[in-house]
Symmetry: C2
Subunit: 291 residues, 2 copies
């Protein structure tokens, strides 16, 4: 059927014969339960948008502990209830904040967090991607996060869907009240210039498909364009039966390595010439919802 | 103003003091007329969407001559009048085709074009980017296009906004009746596996912000979701006074080199640590509309 050409090969995975190389999707789908690790509900924030749609964000406390603590305190105080998506810049970022500036910050939210743009590589179980990177000496995974490493320092990488903290010119001014996520080519020049604090694990499309803002930097010129955020809740604060459950493919499992190799060397029917290479932002660790 | 933090530094360019390093935007804005080259109207296709919005695509005849000839023939025959955006897959592609399969192909459209996935590097004025790439031996520019090169072969790169020809499993089956553009992280594994034929030079947001499809591979499940394309016209076929005029920054101009260096080494006020590196898809040649 012309209108539905399966020219990316993915949809054929279900039909794959034993003679056809496993696709990355096949490998993920076939991974045993032991290859998956639960994501801590304390790391999950549920944003409910106007209309009831939900965006789920995983926080990265090991990379930006003070920023993450600020965001948790803000969420618990209801600070994001009444925030809105105020900026959508094509091939760059979607940003949300309180359009009204918001009330006084709740107690415990430091206005001047440290510049958590990198951390010691020591203490992280780093799994190298194994392919060269345009920007960093080395990229790979730590706790399933996309990470770059250079000598003693490690940092999160600005891949599609990563979440960061907006800031002013001074590097210590991003208190977590204004967040953004990447909706285009990885803006890697922002790495180590701004605090990344997490990633969108579900509902990305409710942010990435928003109309682009027509003001400078993609800000909405008309406040009526802003998409209200109804609430932000920590999954760990919900009654157990109401918590969503997510798992990620364990970077320490053999299946993870198979998946990386299959991503780098696509041999399913569609591909004529496997790339033999991979960019960390084209190989974000698989995550699945269990409930 | 909290809601409008200029945390990416771009908006400050207008206020830049002589002590502040020039931003990439400053350099483009300040480029002399001699640094710009007109884009041939024969290379421009104007897609008019339902509602009257327009997407402008530049074709790349030096890279995929047979595919580009097919697309021109199809456009002149009105084949895309009645096409629609039928697929939107988040962080991947937007695709358009005739949902009804379309009428018989017009005379001159070959059903089995050659696999124009790469071309000889000889004959192209190649300007190296000068930074390493995850996928190719070398990247850079040719005629202002993002290009990779490896020995004697050169090929267009799957950056955000590049336009390609959908195909079936066999590499010779993409006749140009089904096109896509990239709306996320550059899917470089598609390089040399599918024919790239152009790029969106204006109106990308009318495609990239479409609701994501909920069917397999992001196809719209309900045909009512598809966004109709009213017409596709070659700019060169319009009366001269109706043609839009576009220019691109000439890769051979000294300003182009300054712009690349500024992109790789952001020193405007916001940046604390210049990357000292650049990915070809984060440095697509500046293009401007003159009329």
């Amino acid at each position: 059927m012309r209108g539905r050409r399966f020219w990316l090969g993915l949809a054929l995975s279900a039909l794959a014969s034993p003679l056809t190389a496993a696709t990355p999707n096949d490998i993920v789908t076939g991974a045993p339960a032991s290859a998956w690790k639960a994501i801590d509900p304390e790391e999950l924030i549920l944003l409910t948008l106007e209309g009831g749609r939900q965006v789920v964000i995983q926080l990265a406390p090991r990379f930006a502990p003070v920023h993450v603590a600020n965001i948790r305190t803000l969420a618990r105080a209801g600070w994001f209830d009444g925030a809105a998506v105020t900026r959508v810049q094509d091939n760059y970022v979607v940003q949300w904040a309180r359009p009204d500036g918001g009330p006084t910050r709740p107690a415990g939210v430091g206005a001047h967090p440290p510049a958590e743009y990198e951390r010691p590589a020591a203490g992280l179980a780093f799994r190298p991607l194994g392919f060269r990177d345009s920007y960093a000496a080395e990229t790979g995974y730590a706790d399933g996060w996309p990470v770059a490493r250079d000598g003693a320092a490690a940092w999160l990488v600005h891949c599609y869907g990563m979440v960061g903290v907006g800031r002013d010119m001074s590097p210590d001014t991003g208190d977590g009240t204004e967040l953004y996520t990447v909706i285009g080519q990885a803006p890697r020049h922002l790495d180590r210039n701004i605090a990344l604090v997490g990633r969108v694990v579900e509902g990305m499309e409710w942010l990435s498909a928003r109309p682009r803002g027509t003001g400078p930097l993609g800000f909405y010129q008309d406040k009526a364009e802003a998409l209200p955020i109804r609430s932000a809740r920590l999954a760990g604060d919900l009654p157990v039966e109401q918590r969503p459950r997510f798992e990620m493919l364990d970077q320490a499992s053999p299946v993870f390595g198979q998946w990386v190799q299959a991503r780098a060397n696509r041999k399913d029917d569609f591909f004529i010439r496997p790339a033999g290479a991979l960019d960390i932002c084209n190989a974000q660790a698989p995550i699945r919802r269990m409930k």
